[in-house]
Symmetry: C2
Subunit: 236 residues, 2 copies
């Protein structure tokens, strides 16, 4: 007595729905929207490829008919954009939480905690990170603009308006670097310039780990500390 999908004889057009979802009550149709984002996020976490995401695959994962997606998103790009926004928000929250947790430990420890949180998000969710920062830009998908005015920032309004949501996390980084300089824990140089090089260094550390996993990578903490010493100039 094997458990079979409801429906018995499978429809030839779309594969048999593995589990038939129960319909949402009136006024709660919006729930499906969240389920769709979560399902697409799950699929992207496995493939890491935005282009390879298919609406039919998402519908299969959720257990609905494909056209039902159009009740909540006008097209595929809108669904993908919603997923990216959700992931950027997760990254932002992870970095902020780490920084707040170490607020009492001094600017250097706080900066280190934020950097490590960024790297851990990337290494623990490599495909999600790739989707956020490994895309070629200007293709079908663009992210919504959010304001970014980093302290001491040289970001022109025009440039900032097209920055991804993750730019807020970059603001944390500039802040952290500035505080270390203010506390005389690091040489006083343009914090924006230093933060930029820290960001690229961290990105390189985690991105190459994802692309060349068989390389004998040193411990993440060691590389991050090397960056904080070498680029920011943190003593200790």
């Amino acid at each position: 007595m094997s458990v079979k999908p409801a429906g018995g004889a499978a429809c030839a057009h779309d594969p048999a729905p593995l589990t038939r979802r129960s319909r949402n009550p009136h006024g709660q149709g919006g729930r499906l929207r969240a389920e769709l984002i979560a399902a697409a996020d799950r699929i992207l976490a496995q493939t890491g490829d935005v282009e390879a995401l298919s609406l039919r695959g998402v519908a299969r994962e959720v257990g609905i008919a494909t056209p039902s997606i159009y009740l909540h998103f006008p097209d595929k790009a809108a669904l993908v954009q919603a997923v990216l926004e959700a992931r950027f928000e997760q990254l932002r929250l992870a970095v902020r939480a780490a920084a707040e947790t170490h607020a009492a430990d001094g600017p250097a420890a706080q900066l280190r905690a934020g950097c490590l949180a960024y790297c851990r998000f990337a290494t623990e969710h490599p495909n999600a990170y790739r989707v956020l920062f490994g895309r070629r830009p200007g293709r079908d998908l663009t992210l919504p603009a959010k304001t970014l005015t980093p302290p001491g920032g040289e970001v022109s309004p025009g440039a900032a308006s097209s920055l991804p949501v993750g730019a807020e996390a970059f603001g944390f980084l500039v802040d952290g670097v500035s505080r270390c300089m203010a506390a005389d824990l690091a040489p006083q140089v343009d914090p924006m310039r230093i933060a930029t090089s820290v960001w690229t260094a961290l990105h390189g550390i985690v991105a190459l780990r994802g692309s060349v996993p068989h390389f004998p990578w040193p411990p993440l903490e060691q590389q991050v500390d090397d960056v904080l010493r070498g680029i920011v100039g943190l003593r200790e």
Copy 2:
């Protein structure tokens, strides 16, 4: 009198061939192989997406019927692999040429030239670079193993055997760092560890430029010099 593709009435199945290629003479069939690699390379340079490359697109670009590709490659993966090998070779040659050109200028200048050549290749061919180092690994495509034994290397044979061809370029990097240390231009630390952090730093510098082009990036040379000072410890 507009110039029309030969054939007049277009076939409905494959789009009309825009230019009809003249057939290769006997014994020269291999020429098409090179043309196919070049065409696929051209397409990838525009899209930067290995998954989005299609045999039909390549055939269109070259001006042949799609099945002709199978005379030279057993399947799509083989063609893509050939393209990647060609691109890796270009990167390797670019870095080596830069290093050789500056051989007489001392180890520091030579290392700097190699690093800049690596970054220039990446920024001048962003999509090609993305194809080489931005892929998620272990998907359908894997690169052929080539031996890598960097001086002072800690790369185990098992790990090295799965490294991409570009690993030879990494060998140049370890060499360059070692020579700077030997000439007492930089602190004597494990050159493999330093070279690894330089590689990730350079990768971050160029990869993020490709993914977030609207960011107010500082000049490439400045960031590279910051890395050589901060990570390698080059004085001056």
